[in-house]
């Protein structure tokens, strides 16, 4: 079974600063995908970024980037130039079949 661990229940960052959210996972699979989802108070889960395990290059989407360390089974999310609208729960997820396995989430608060 795959497990996903997010060790930071809550984090806070000032507007315009950079913050990194941690995620580790455990799997025996070789081919898989990793995701970061954002869940604002509206409950809508929004995909932030996706990483294919076979790609060595770290994924980047505008202000969001990941640091994927396959050997260490680590997949952290870096948010640059944080904005007030980034305030949300962030979930790390692992996918090797069809279902996604989610971590418990990190609550991120961006302050003015």
């Amino acid at each position: 079974a795959q497990t996903v661990t997010q060790s930071q229940p809550e984090m806070s960052v000032q507007e315009a600063e950079t913050v990194t959210l941690s995620c580790t996972y455990d799997t025996s699979e070789n081919n898989y995908y990793l995701f970061w989802y954002k869940q604002p108070p509206s409950r809508q889960m929004i995909l932030v970024i996706r990483q294919e395990a076979y790609k060595q290059q770290n994924a980047t989407e505008n202000r969001f980037s990941v640091n994927f360390q396959k050997a260490a089974k680590s997949f952290s999310l870096k948010i640059s130039d944080s904005q007030l609208g980034d305030t949300a729960m962030y979930f790390c997820a692992f996918g090797a079949g069809y279902a996604l396995n989610f971590g418990k989430g990190t609550s991120l608060l961006v302050t003015p």
């Binding site: 995909l47 069809y98 996604l100």
Partner: protein
């Protein structure tokens, strides 16, 4: 087109009653998933549909839970004889056939409260 929709948005029921939760996936998405999110927790996989067949029901927590899907369209999740521990947000997602290799698009969820 429209995103994934779910109804009702909120449901309050009494212990022992049956409830039905509905999910309308994005048109053309043949894969459909149900997840449960308990307060302060991540999402817990319940069931996966490919078309109207459910190859994996392993996540359903008990035989009080069942789900069906009409063709490649609407799905309903039914919880019979609800218990207080069933209180959670139930999220539905849909995707193109290759599941985790493609983005799962989520609905806004149904918040179920069992009194």
């Amino acid at each position: 087109g429209a995103g994934v929709s779910q109804s009702p948005s909120n449901k309050v029921t009494e212990k022992g009653k049956d409830v039905e939760l509905r999910c309308d996936p994005i048109s053309g998405h043949t894969a459909l998933y149900w997840y449960r999110q308990r307060l302060g927790q991540g999402l817990e996989f319940l069931i996966y549909f490919q078309g109207n067949s459910a190859p994996d029901k392993s996540g359903l927590p008990s035989d009080r839970f069942s789900a069906e899907r009409t063709g490649e369209s609407v799905s309903t999740l039914t919880i019979q004889r609800t218990q207080q521990e069933d209180s959670a947000v139930y999220l539905c997602a849909s995707s193109f056939p290759r599941a985790s290799y493609n983005e799962q698009f989520f609905g806004p969820g149904t918040r179920l409260t069992v009194l």
